[in-house]
Symmetry: C2
Subunit: 223 residues, 2 copies
């Protein structure tokens, strides 16, 4: 059965040689309000990725929070994860959906208007827009799109794939959450705002409160 | 439909930024007698791997020579390859078979007697034994098993998985083919013996002739 997608507060975790700590971090983040978790690992062996994904899936058991795997359909299927997130250097959304079938969540990163226009809402369940700001969590060869770029992508998505769930990614922290949410996304995707916090649960709670408040204001304004 | 496995002369090709040349090389090698091709790429992006695999699959169209992908079930399924080969850092054979289903070739590398004993002939279609000798094509952290190690593995495979197809891998060239085949394998797996030859077709023809002759002698001796 396909897991329920809630993109409100989306946490990406990377490869780790310290799985114990990472599992504790993910549990704390979920206790604080994270609604979706992604494992992004471009360097570990496939065997290690599958072991890490299984451990994360186990740590999330009973929380209702789905686990997605960046790029790797093989890892997702082997570990019993809930879906896959693809970017421009990864497997195409078409290929991923064909292999996964309908019962997995599939998300895509979009950064340019061309990429936004290519989004097929019959194939993907959500779009992650960005990088919005500079980030220390990932090497991005091209420039951040900024709040204006985010707004342009949101408008193009609204036109081309109305109703498709969307979030913003890259460099988002507490101070930027309001302005990002005001651009018209359903949630935020973060890495270091939670993983580098001395108190990941508290960090997640504060981010979650900001996103929830923005969504309430947005609903009052537009519905 | 599952492709027909013939392990007589098994060629591994790596990632390439010069796909045109690589496709020509593979075509020449197959014209010279290569019976099985594997794409082994631990560094390229998934999107690049899938594009490379599709190009190789197209280059092999009509030859009857199957294309296997090292480790990556996702790439194999996306590109329509014929199977997957797994080593100790890759997806497990069990996970790979579960995802692939019965209609794909699945091979495994074995180097130690423990690994040989863990081979499940109900899951894998062949075992590749080695590294037998030192190789320049891949970084192997542990020592080569040599001809004696190869013979031990063959004996253990014959006991535990009688009838399972097997080949030898690593550092095999023309001069070593006779002794490797005499250890009791069904074929040889090579990289540089063909890819680094100035005439890959001629190199494949000479290796193929040596393997074929060894198999004829072996049949006369043991049947």
């Amino acid at each position: 059965m396909k897991a329920t997608l809630d993109i409100t507060l989306y946490l990406i975790v990377g490869p780790s040689h310290d799985t114990g700590d990472r599992l504790a971090l993910v549990r704390a983040a979920v206790a604080g309000g994270v609604t979706l978790v992604q494992l992004r690992d471009k360097t570990s062996s496939t065997r290690q990725m599958i072991a890490d994904a299984r451990a994360l899936k186990q740590a999330l058991a009973g929380t209702g929070v789905p686990l997605l795997i960046n790029d790797r359909v093989d890892v997702a299927l082997a570990a019993g994860a809930d879906g896959v997130h693809v970017g421009r250097d990864d497997i195409s959304a078409q290929d991923a959906r064909r292999i996964l079938g309908p019962n997995y969540i599939l998300g895509i990163t979009v950064k340019t208007l061309d990429e936004v226009r290519a989004v097929d809402p019959g194939i993907v369940d959500y779009a992650s827009i960005g990088g919005v700001f500079e980030t220390s969590s990932k090497h991005n060869p091209d420039a951040p799109i900024g709040l204006l770029g985010l707004q342009e992508c949101v408008a193009a998505l609204t036109a081309g794939a109305p109703g498709l769930t969307r979030c913003a990614i890259a460099g988002i922290d507490e101070g930027r959450t309001e302005s990002v949410m005001a651009a018209g996304v359903d949630g935020i995707c973060v890495v270091s705002a939670i993983t580098k916090s001395p108190d990941p649960q508290e960090a997640a709670m504060r981010l979650r409160a900001l996103v929830d408040r923005a969504k309430r204001v947005h609903e009052r304004a537009f519905v």
